[in-house]
């Protein structure tokens, strides 16, 4: 019997009771939930008629990239979501992380290292020029030349060639060695296809404007205030679009977005705070849905420098003293699941329950006399909540934990920039992506760099990561990923805690939405082409 912290049990019970009333969709959605197809958290028949018109939504924050509006250099999930309204990638992600056609109507893999993509014959940029294979080749070459973050996720690309014959546009990607996550990596917005002819002619600056082949084009934008998108009449599937205009208001306050849904001035909003599920429950005409992200929270240990966390056994003890189940119930309103390095909702993910940290008993007082600092940044309410739970769990095991809630700049300075890091423990979260081996890269400090100030590079772990990336989905890869998870848990330098939930609320009396139950790139608007305005 594990003697994990019990101090929060009462709170957990209350949270569980609250949650039992509001998990999944809320309100009068129990019946609707029964009708949901597999892989969806909300579903609206895309073939049904739409009243059309303007969809008003409020999101919690805007894009903020040093590369401006250039998708190739976009690094945060919100940029991927917003830019993804305008740009298309070769492929997209469907239910259960299945790879689906987007700009590529089909593809085949003649051997382990070759991928051949046939482009949509009607694909057209919003300026009316058809998308060509040269645009695809040029976009990828540009991405690789820019050494942008996402270039690393595309893997060991040997060549990208225009292999078109006649009018049919075709592109062939050849890899140096097998790399399973390629398709998942191609599905994210940084791998979007740009109008290279205009870009090379100097008529289009991707940092300043957006010109894509996707469902929408930008009509107006004021940074941190609003976006206005218009339906792109040139989009190859424009007839199916249920929204004529999309107005996105940026509203950082949860209460304000909730008020917008209540009074109908907004028809769709997102909430990163899982408590929003219960708040939305009481709003008439509003339906809430929770999307399981592959994004996950993790705990960093300062394994370098003078920190008490330099000792591996101590780190393992602290790691084992954290009860992930309780953390999920108390801090994340039960809307998440404990995870290993491979996000729990992805295929072939390792089992967090079997890891040493989950099975080791930590006796009360095991951390007696240990004084630790725990850093979080205050712009993410969930991080602060998780920090409080971790603090109480470690204190129940005897440690003294000072929780420091900092602005992101101060946090980054002490955790990522300082060499060695100036902290004992710190909390953060990663995008989990759409293939279980993609995020494992960040456990190699030689690749990730940001964690070189607090964790070491381990040959065995790096080799295990590399091996798993080359294996086809299936049992063999699952076993290789389990090894990665176990090594990460053993070193206990940066350990996953739980997935990061995303809640959306929408006016179900005026809007029908389609939302995947699982998402890898934080894109809760992935299904927007299937949104439908209802007759009022």
């Amino acid at each position: 019997m594990r003697s994990k912290t019990k101090t929060l049990t009462g709170v957990a019970v209350v949270a569980a009771l609250v949650l039992s009333a509001c998990s999944g969709q809320n309100g009068d959605s129990d019946d609707a939930e029964l009708d949901l197809p597999d892989g969806y958290a909300a579903y609206d028949d895309p073939s049904a008629d739409s009243a059309g018109g303007t969809l008003s939504m409020q999101l919690d924050y805007d894009t903020a990239e040093t590369g401006g509006l250039d998708p190739a250099t976009a690094e945060i999930a919100r940029s991927w979501t917003i830019m993804g309204l305008v740009y298309e990638s070769l492929v997209s992600i469907g239910p259960d992380f299945e790879i689906e056609p987007e700009l590529a109507s089909s593809w085949e893999q003649p051997d382990e290292t070759t991928y051949v993509f046939d482009l949509q014959p009607d694909a057209t940029f919003s300026n009316g020029r058809p998308v060509s294979a040269d645009d695809v080749v040029g976009s990828f070459e540009r991405l690789l030349e820019m050494a942008a973050l996402w270039a690393g996720q595309l893997g060991p690309i040997e060549s990208i060639e225009n292999t078109s014959e006649g009018d049919a546009q075709q592109v062939t990607i050849t890899l140096e060695r097998p790399y399973t996550p390629l398709l998942a990596a191609l599905a994210n917005t940084p791998a979007a296809i740009l109008p290279m002819e205009e870009l090379e002619a100097g008529d289009f600056d991707p940092a300043e404007e957006m010109l894509g082949s996707g469902a929408f084009s930008v009509a107006d934008h004021r940074q941190d205030e609003y976006w206005v998108f218009e339906a792109n009449q040139e989009w190859w599937n424009a007839d199916s679009l249920g929204v004529d205009e999309l107005r996105i208001e940026i509203s950082g306050d949860d209460q304000t977005r909730l008020a917008g849904l209540r009074d109908g001035s907004s028809q769709f909003s997102n909430f990163s705070n899982p408590d929003a599920l219960s708040l939305l429950e009481s709003a008439q005409g509003v339906t809430a849905a929770s999307q399981t992200q592959s994004d996950f929270f993790y705990l960093m240990f300062n394994a370098l420098g003078d920190s008490a966390m330099a000792d591996q056994e101590t780190r393992q003890l602290v790691n084992a003293a954290i009860d992930r189940e309780q953390l999920v119930d108390v801090a994340l309103a039960g809307a998440a699941v404990p995870t290993g390095v491979t996000p729990a909702n992805l295929p072939d993910a390792c089992s967090a329950e079997t890891l040493q940290s989950a099975t080791t008993e930590v006796e009360a007082g095991a951390l007696e006399g240990m004084a630790l600092s725990l850093l979080v940044y205050n712009s993410d309410p969930s991080l602060v909540a998780i920090g409080q739970v971790v603090q109480q769990q470690l204190e129940a095991a005897g440690a003294t934990v000072e929780l420091e809630s900092l602005d992101y700049g101060s946090y980054a300075d002490r955790v990522y920039t300082a060499q060695p890091g100036q902290f004992d423990l710190a909390l953060g979260w990663f995008a989990g992506y759409a293939d279980p081996s993609m995020v494992t890269s960040w456990w190699d400090p030689d690749t990730a760099i940001f964690n070189a100030g607090f964790m070491e590079s381990h040959d065995d772990l790096n080799a295990a990561i590399e091996e798993a990336r080359g294996l086809e989905p299936g049992e063999e890869r699952a076993a290789a990923l389990q090894t990665v998870c176990e090594l990460v848990d053993d070193y206990s330098e940066m350990v996953p805690l739980a997935t990061r939930p995303q809640v959306v609320g929408y006016r179900s009396d005026s809007l029908g939405i389609t939302l995947l139950s699982d998402e890898g790139y934080g894109d809760f608007l992935r299904g927007i082409v299937d949104f439908r305005m209802l007759e009022s």
């Binding site: 300043e208 941190d224 209460q255 304000t256 909730l258 008020a259 009074d263 109908g264 001035s265 990522y416």
Partner: protein, 321 residues
């Protein structure tokens, strides 16, 4: 002549204050832990990306060089570009300042319209026990209820009940004037509560101080009507502390009420600066602090000048002492 010299000295003091603030804010922005590259590029950026951004922003130069470039540009009216929006900071401010100014002026107008009469009545009826206690409780509540509590209640009420005004879709007066004014009413009303309570309290204290002056007794002895005494003698002679408070409140309101802007999703300058602080967007931070400093210095100057007009002794006290 003496008054002119006094005014000139005040203007000079204001300019020196502004230069001191310029130095302080420039240094402070760079001392704060966490650089723009850390914040905007995120943890996964490569050292090359950080280096490129640092060079683009001119942060690889020495502090003195950076400061001289910046202050030189500021003197020519160029506050630089925001690293996030890539727009000139001055243009961004020009879009947001009317929003904040509308709310500030509306809030101040409401505060003065309510605060001065209430404070005056409180003072005139100070001798009545029950009335004094009740008015103190009301003004005490107005001052002590945090604006985020009041704001949250207003947001809840107006989004739940059909009261004719919705919370979302804020409109700026520069887009549609009357819709902009209507959009500003709720945030201004919430801000006005504290300001009205403070104005009432200051007015009450100032009027009480004047009521015991011998010239009031003389006016009463002359048989002047109470309303005339209040208008001609009491309000005029108690106006300096009210004027000082009014200027302070206006400066405070023009600085942007961040919490209220957040609650009502107002695209004003307060939320703009807070975002810039989080992102270490130096051009915006520096422009923001300078703007706030200019507003405070100007307000302070205006109060001193107008006080000297109301009471010429103000401009001679410094000389006399």
């Amino acid at each position: 002549m003496q008054a002119l010299l006094w005014a000139g000295r005040r203007v000079l003091t204001g300019l020196v204050t502004l230069f001191g603030i310029a130095v302080l804010v420039f240094m402070a922005a760079r001392i704060v832990p966490g650089q723009t590259a850390d914040v905007l590029l995120g943890p996964l950026a490569t050292p090359e990306q950080r280096e490129t951004l640092t060079e683009e922003m001119g942060l690889n130069e020495g502090l003195l060089t950076q400061f001289s470039i910046w202050i030189g540009n500021v003197l020519q009216g160029d506050f630089g570009d925001s690293i996030v929006s890539r727009q000139p900071v001055l243009e961004e401010l020009a879009l947001r300042l009317p929003v904040t100014a509308t709310i500030a002026l509306l809030a101040l107008l409401m505060a003065l319209l309510v605060g001065i009469p209430v404070g005056t009545v409180q003072a005139l009826r100070a001798s009545r026990k029950g009335g004094a206690v009740a008015s103190r409780i009301v003004s005490g509540l107005g001052i002590s209820v945090p604006d985020f509590v009041l704001g949250a209640l207003v947001v809840l009420a107006f989004s739940t009940l059909p009261l004719g005004i919705t919370i979302g879709n804020f409109t700026s007066v520069t887009d549609t004037f009357w819709r902009g004014v209507a959009s500003s009413l709720l945030p201004a009303a919430v801000l006005a509560v504290f300001c009205a309570a403070a104005t009432a309290r200051t007015t009450r204290d100032a009027v009480l101080g004047v009521l015991v002056e011998p010239y009031i007794q003389a006016a009463v002895a002359r048989g002047e009507r109470p309303a005339t005494i209040v208008r001609r003698h009491v309000l005029r002679n108690s106006s300096i502390p009210i004027l000082t408070l009014t200027a302070t409140l206006l400066a405070y309101l023009l600085g942007g009420a961040v919490i209220i802007e957040g609650l009502f999703n107002v695209p004003g300058i307060g939320s703009y600066f807070i975002l810039a602080m989080d992102r270490r967007d130096y051009a915006v931070i520096q422009a923001g602090v300078m703007l706030a400093a200019v507003v405070f210095v100007l307000m302070s100057l205006l109060v001193e000048l107008s006080s000297s007009l109301i009471d010429p002794r103000v401009s001679t006290i410094g000389k006399a002492s």
